[in-house]
Amino acid sequence: MTVTHTYSAVIVGAGGAGLRAAIEASGHVNVAVISKLYPTRSHTGAAQGGMCAALGNVEEDYPEWHTFDTVKGGDYLVDQPAAEIMCHEAIDRVIELEHWGFPFNRTPEGFIDQRRFGGHTRNHGEGPVRRACYAADRTGHMILQTLYQQCIKRDVRFFNEFYVLDLLMVDGRCGGVVAYELATGELHVFRAKAVLFATGGYGRIFQITSNAHALTGDGPAVCYRRGIPLEDMEMYQIHPTGIYKLGILISEAVRGEGGILVNGEGERFMERYAPSIKDLAPRDMVSRAIYQEIKEGRGVGGKDFVHLDVRHLPPEVIETKLPDVTEFARIYLGVEPTTEPVPIQPTAHYAMGGIPTDVEGRVVVGPDETPVPGLFAAGECACVSVHGANRLGTNSLLDIVVFGRRGGHSMAEYGLAVDEPQLPKGIEGETVAMLERIRGGPGLEHAADIRNELQRHMFDLCGVVRKEEGLRALRGLLARLRGRYELIGLSDRGNLFNTELMEAVELGFLLDVAETVAAAALARDESRGGHYREDHPLRDDVHWLKHSLAYREPDGSIRLEHKDVKLGPYVPMERKY
């Protein structure tokens, strides 16, 4: 039983990027937003630290300094023209959010307050600069609420708890998507001139992650299965400060307000690894430092965690600027941050890679960046690339509104210029077949076991530190997991809120995404940003100043191609802080 809908623009995902795109497109064309979660459940809401823009409200600052920090922070894999656009548009996007009611923290004079954040410096690295605009430590929550409110104001049409399972391509042109309605089990075909993916990241390929359970890489996987390559998949950020064992994020803002990292010997070890900005070094550097300290036996009590210490901060700073993160420590660890240090460990956090796009949000394929007509992407699931090999904190909340808006604008423009696509009958047949295969599976394997093992192998062998031996072994492990995936079965036979079926589909997406991450990591025999190869610890600009593109071959194997990094005024230098 299939229902068909027709829209000019269909947006998949209702987090910050998807909602911003919907706001932009809604005044011009008929828009529908499809989301597997109710919009305010999206993971944008978990972002804590801030959104940066060179407003210069508190101290001198310029978009050019921000651009440099972004390029260097990304270990020079960033496409410099894209970073320049993002950092210059940042100011307008922040002011626009304020006009829409965003409750920024304020200076005594009433302007938007700004604070320090890792990797953001004045004058190309002289010292930290106050560039991050914020709302306590729930900036992401407020962005999500504000953008959702603006969608309500514009009466945007939402299809909530619909899972997009397939992308429809007709004669090389995007024609829409197929979605599964969780409440009823019905399939829906959304015929659309333009589709924009804004489905977020894929932290759930890893065992310890800050990511929600819903982040299973749906957008990238669905595009990948239809021949779209995935860019820079090896670039995955492991954030240094997650709650020990749980992975719940403790924001970098804690260090921005003065919190420090301390090893088992009570030493502020970041002084050794990044002498000038210490604990505010980029996240990949801090995570590797923690890994190294633990490996050399200087974890707390010799164990596999270190401490985040805020005991020296004034209690009112902790209460007013960091209330949520202190609550996490209290609830989940029983630790009182004002009097005790907090146990933390690195946690898988952010995907720099994803669906390749240009700066207008159009999906582009191949080394020559050929646009795919009607297909767009924005936010964490996209790769423009503004974050290169490592993302600076507060640049993601910026990315989603800048490129969400650009993608929404491009979709609307495209939709006004073309006719509706013609979809052949029965185009949802492949999705029907996939669901039947899972429903009718023999049940010889258990989906939860496969997922647990996938996550553990990926975190152990493709996490903070990687090497060839481990990555080759990982390839074999993933292949065996995929074989076992074909043998799972379901115990829920119904059509009503069959979350077991959807989790099984999501596991397939996780396997696809994990395979591309592992393959790209094995191929890149250098270290850059979040991709650290113990057997190739240095950056190799001669051979590797390029993006990877992972294509799916018909037999399921992966073919890697590359495209040049778009350089600019910043010449790649050694990344020291």
Partner: protein, 291 residues
């Protein structure tokens, strides 16, 4: 960065499934780390404050009674009980996942962030509205009862129809209204003005408050605490200009004056919002034009 040769992590087949996702092995490179059982917790200073609940170490037995409902299978609700082993520091959500993944795949619940931010997993836990991801096993062991939130139609197991809740929210015009020309700078707002409405910006629309309210249970026309909280957020925001319109909605029969200061909402709120206080401030704004 100097690289040192490390011991390779084991790369054989995965071992026997572990019931709940375990903590990491950050490389098997530490001597004597094999005993890092989560139950012991990190080293702590003497006299440091501990969280609530008895001192428990090691795995515990937890009996979970869940109210089930599936109209595809039978027309009435029924109770299921599952007895599992869990770490005391696991979240109740982790325990429910274990039940779903290893005992009964048809158990359906909403969840996403697993740390109290997204508001997906509001449930009635031992008779009180809570988020399942903010309750630890050690707070409820050895026995816990889990039901869907009240006052909204149950669709399946712990999933309720949220449409009436969001419809109430939309009635209060939950977006900033300010028709003055905008400049290329931010509107000014003092820290004191910002503080005035800070509490009610925290709302995550989890519905714990509205579905804990006896007035809402008795009369689903009542707009409910969450809608009033989100109206408060704008009424007391110095930049907003539509307070009159919102207050007009809230002074209707189904609006704020239904509130009987029962305080269930304030107790239920996982974000610690002083909900009853916000409702009273809205009542005063309507009566005395004070906002």
């Amino acid at each position: 960065m100097p690289a040192q040769p490390s011991v390779s992590p084991p790369v054989g087949e995965g071992d026997q499934q572990t019931p709940v996702v375990r903590g990491p092995a950050l490389g098997d490179v530490l001597e004597g780390s094999a005993d890092s059982e989560w139950g012991e917790g990190p080293p702590r200073e003497p006299g440091a404050r501990r969280s609530g609940g008895p001192e428990v170490t090691g795995r515990v037995s937890l009996s979970i009674r869940i109210k089930r409902y599936n109209p595809e299978v039978r027309p009435d609700a029924w109770w299921d009980e599952f007895v599992i082993d869990a770490e005391p520091s696991d979240r109740l959500l982790d325990a429910l996942h274990y039940v779903k993944w290893y005992r009964d795949g048809s158990l359906s619940l909403r969840r996403s962030c697993a740390h109290g931010i997204c508001g997906s997993d509001a449930m009635v836990i031992n008779g009180r509205n809570q988020l399942a991801c903010k309750i630890l096993v050690k707070q409820v062991a050895p026995q816990v009862t889990v039901e869907p939130i009240r006052g909204l139609p149950v669709l399946k197991d712990l999933i309720v129809d949220m449409e009436p809740f969001f419809a109430g929210y939309r009635r209060v015009l939950p977006y900033l209204v300010n028709e003055e020309g905008t400049s290329d700078r931010e509107r000014l707002q003092s820290p004191e003005e910002r503080e005035r409405y800070d509490d009610t910006t925290k709302c995550i629309l989890c519905a714990a408050c509205t579905t804990s309210c006896p007035i809402f249970w008795a009369d689903d026309e009542y707009i409910g605490p969450a809608a009033i909280v989100n109206a408060h957020r704008f009424v007391f925001d110095s930049r907003d200009q539509a307070a009159d319109e919102r207050l007009a909605v809230l002074s209707e029969k189904s609006g704020v004056f239904r509130c009987r200061t029962t305080f269930n909402c304030t107790e239920a709120c996982p974000r610690g919002i002083k909900v009853t206080k916000a409702i009273q401030e809205v009542k005063r704004a309507i009566m005395f034009d004070r906002y």
